[in-house]
């Protein structure tokens, strides 16, 4: 186990350089190893300096770290940009052997000036390790200014991230594209987004926005509207055409044309592989097409994202259900399963007759309506569940013509897994919520009306998910009448086509290793069929990983190809943290998008949320504090 001899991480100074004391990773508060016990030599980052031995050249570390800082300093404030560039010049001169002794005092002055007076928090926080250098390594710096000797570069590995970037499963450069939008540079914004996101249109409208949940502005007022800004970039920007290398390598099969499938396809295409994707549906998009209603995600947006992949050379064989995994896997050297989570969990309601008597699983209902199958109109609809699927079912039912729509959920509003904004939207549109209630029995009357016996619930102790467990209130049964009941209590993968040839987990999802490989040779899996019902962006992240796994397998490699990912993985928690330092950040209102008028009859599936205006977008972009974190590590 590596120990540190010196650390200033997170303002905790541990200095064993002169007395031989060493400090464990716990004491330092930062991992000192990565992968399988490989050791860091030096860690030089936004939050301090950590050394595990005395062989590092601190001046080279500082200069190498700071060159990246200077690339990020945006130029929107005088002190930040000019100060950072002065510091960079001095550090570069120090390692080149061209500095003069007076430069050290100048360096100190610049660091003090920059660390207290900048417009956003980036430059002021990025100078922290340099300030530490001058405080604890002044002898080394003074020597560098006097000796006029050139220093070897540190040969470290650099990473740049931010709390939002780190929270995003596909690590979108959020402050990067927000900066472009602030400068009205929509084309560059969308180009940047597309670098690691094959579904820019879909995610701009329907992403669950994990970035926003970890935006540092949560601590000040409200998160930056990152998803809406992505949509601004998509709607107003014209991206460059994507190009990929000419194909030369093997063909890889993908089963399922949803987000996981498209992300895998894009990665494979960009690495020069041919892709053939199979889907039982007649259109691409997976659950985005079958589940997410078009008033949240218009169909032409999904189509545009997939058309781009076709233009890049992916072959989509739609209307082609795969009935046995070996029908595919035996024809290709590698196969990636991306079949999603289409089966529904059973609801345990007495008298439930799936598919008959107007009792239907929510995703089946959505799939029918979304694919424009005609359905008999039912006036009163009861939706069971509290997640996004339940909300989508209820709002869809309203648009399909039902006038009396109620969501019944066994816990209270605060525990509903659905996005709070979505719940508000549903209520605005007239959906009723029956909270703390559970349907237990259904009886079908002669005239088709269903009498649903419900039980009132109250919240008890928290369960394993941390949410308070609902417990029945004795003697509180009541009856609701309705014409249709939709069950939306959760989905799970439909793995019948695997015919027990591929190993599953206890939860019925496909079991994979960290490269996405299943128990069947040459077969990989990604997306909801591995994660359980999750999100578009998680499916994409997992699809990419499986594509890399497949490529490694085809190339006969066993080691992780992505060294950088392995090295910085231990810092994930540290990257997610909010360091709201010395800059004072004033509250500024989050911009809201215009919604279509819902006081009129909702008889269509027109998109509800409108794009932010350019003016709003600039104001919203201006709220971003550019919380970039730069880190440089060297290894033994």
């Amino acid at each position: 186990m590596a120990n540190a001899i010196f650390s200033t991480w997170n303002n905790k100074v541990l200095d064993g350089r002169y007395n031989g004391t060493t400090y464990s990773a716990e004491e330092v508060g930062l991992p000192l190893t990565y992968g399988e016990d490989k050791e860091f030599k030096a860690i030089f980052g936004w939050n301090g300096i950590v050394l595990t031995d005395d062989s590092s050249n601190i001046v080279s570390l500082a200069a190498d770290y700071f060159r990246t800082v200077a690339l990020i300093a945006c130029g929107e404030c005088n002190v930040g940009y000019n100060g950072v560039h002065l510091i960079k010049t001095i550090l570069d001169n120090l390692v080149a052997g061209t500095a003069v002794p007076a430069d050290i005092a100048r360096l100190k002055e610049c660091i003090e000036g920059v660390s207290i007076n900048t417009k956003c928090s980036f430059c002021s926080s990025a100078v922290k390790p340099i300030a530490d250098c001058l405080r604890y390594f002044s002898a080394e710096f003074e020597a560098a200014a006097e000796e006029h000797a050139a220093y070897e570069p540190s040969n470290g590995l650099l990473n740049v991230t931010a709390p939002c970037i780190e929270a995003c499963p596909i690590h979108q450069d959020v402050p990067g594209y927000i900066g472009h939008i602030k400068n009205h540079n929509y084309d560059e914004a969308i180009n940047l987004i597309k670098r690691n996101n094959p579904l820019p249109g879909c995610t701009g409208r329907a992403c669950m926005a994990f970035c926003e949940k970890n935006c540092i502005r949560n601590e000040i007022d409200a998160p930056v509207s990152i998803r809406k800004l992505k949509r601004v970039a998509y709607d107003f920007g014209t991206p460059n055409e994507l190009v990929v290398e000419k194909k030369k390598k093997d063909e890889v099969a993908i089963i399922g044309a949803g987000p996981a499938g498209i992300a895998a396809a894009k990665r494979l295409l960009s690495l020069g592989y041919n892709v053939v994707a199979y889907d039982l549906n007649n259109v691409c998009g997976g659950m985005m097409n079958d589940g997410i209603p078009s008033y949240r995600l218009p169909r032409e947006i999904i189509k545009a994202d997939f058309d781009e992949m076709i233009a890049l050379g992916a072959e989509y064989r739609v209307s082609t259900p795969v009935r046995d995994i070996e029908d595919i896997s035996s024809h290709y050297k590698a196969t990636i399963i991306c079949t999603g989570a289409y089966a529904s969990k059973s609801n345990g309601i007495e008298g439930w007759t799936e598919g008959e008597n107007d009792m239907l699983q929510g995703v089946r209902y959505l799939k029918s309506i979304n694919n424009k199958k005609t359905m008999e109109l039912k006036n009163s609809v009861l939706v069971v569940g509290g997640g996004n699927t339940a909300i989508d079912c209820a709002r869809t039912a309203l648009r399909a013509g039902s006038r009396d729509v109620t969501i019944i959920y066994r816990r209270s509003r605060a525990e509903m897994p659905a996005n709070a904004e979505e719940i508000d939207e549903a209520e605005i549109e007239g959906v009723k919520l029956d909270l703390l209630a559970l349907p237990v029995k259904i009886e079908v009357e002669e005239n088709g009306i269903k009498k649903v016996t419900c039980q009132k619930m109250q919240l008890g102790e928290p369960d394993e998910s941390g949410r308070r467990r609902p417990v029945p209130v004795p003697g509180s049964e009541y009856v609701i009448n309705c014409d249709m009941i939709l069950s939306a209590i959760g989905e799970k993968p439909d793995v019948s086509f695997l015919n027990n040839k591929v190993e599953l987990t206890d939860w019925g999802t496909i079991k994979v290793d960290k490269n996405g490989a299943t128990s069947m040779k040459g077969v990989f899996a990604a997306g909801d069929c591995v994660n359980g019902p999750a999100s578009i962006v998680e499916a994409m992240a997992s699809g990419k990983r499986a594509a890399i796994g497949a490529v490694m397998y085809l190339d006969g490699k066993t080691t992780v190809s992505n060294e950088k990912e392995e090295v910085f993985e231990p810092f994930h928690k540290e990257f997610l943290k909010h360091n709201l330092d010395n800059t004072y950040n004033y509250a500024r209102e989050r911009q809201h998008a215009r919604m279509i008028d819902r006081n009129v009859l909702l008889d269509n599936f027109n998109e509800v949320e409108q794009v932010l205006t350019k003016k709003q977008a600039v104001q919203e972009a201006d709220r971003c504090l550019k919380c970039y974190k730069v880190i440089l590590v060297t290894r033994n």
Partner: protein
């Protein structure tokens, strides 16, 4: 109303007021450069910094865009505030020593050293960008900033002359004179830090004097939906 003290004098101001506005009320002068009262604060020059104590913590903040808070104690001339401001002046002076306004500030703060090489009159305060966007509504000036993936060495301002209506607002708000505009021989010339553009001026059909750039007349015509002949005469002859 919010109560706070500035240099130990009490003042109460509206909830949404900034420290700068509160100081104005007490006639306490805080130097500014990028701030223009007709526009929302920009916060780019960092000259207006003051020391603010809130909850026992001392912070350096820009007065122009920081909101007041109940019980806040602000010091505009404390040692810490002056040091921070002096550094901002120093760094501006080293970049743009030719600008009179900055030379004056440098003199006031005792800055003599000239430490850098890049020299220009533009200090990237963004006043022109915001004025053209928020006051004129033409959005013709784009600030190109730097960033990891941006590929720019330095921030720069680009004028989009398809959008520009030659109104001169940018030249008017520029604090350093980096943007200039003048009329000569039936032409209006706009000089920006990186470009020069000529606009033809319209001649009054009655008196023969030049009165308005062609592009501006077209813009007004479109905006007001008035017939073209309404724009043939100057203000005096109309």
């Amino acid at each position: 109303m919010i109560n706070l003290t500035i240099d130990d004098r009490t003042v109460s101001v509206e909830k949404n007021a900034t420290i700068l506005q509160a100081a104005e009320k007490l006639n306490i002068k805080i130097p500014t450069l990028c701030y223009n009262e007709e526009m929302a604060p920009i916060g780019s020059c960092r000259i207006c910094v003051v020391e603010a104590i809130k909850g026992g913590e001392s912070l350096i903040v820009s007065a122009c865009n920081t909101g007041v808070e109940e019980g806040m104690k602000v010091y505009t001339k404390s040692e810490k505030a002056i040091e921070a401001r002096k550094f901002a002046v120093k760094i501006l002076y080293s970049e743009n020593p030719s600008v009179k306004l900055i030379r004056d500030l440098a003199e006031e703060y005792g800055v003599v050293e000239d430490i850098n090489v890049r020299k220009s009159e533009c200090i990237h305060c963004e006043r022109c960008v915001h004025a053209c966007r928020d006051v004129v509504g033409q959005n013709a000036i784009v600030l190109t900033t730097c960033g990891l993936s941006y590929g720019n060495d330095a921030p720069s301002l680009k004028w989009d002359f398809d959008k520009c209506i030659a109104c001169g607002t940018c030249a008017f708000v520029c604090p350093t004179g980096a943007v200039k505009m003048h009329d000569h021989d039936g032409v209006r010339t706009l000089l920006t830090p990186e470009s020069k553009q000529d606009f033809t001026l319209k001649k009054c059909v009655s008196c023969g004097s030049y009165f308005m750039p062609e592009v501006q007349a077209q813009y007004l015509m479109k905006k007001t939906e008035l017939p073209a002949d309404k724009f043939d005469q100057c203000m005096n002859c109309r």
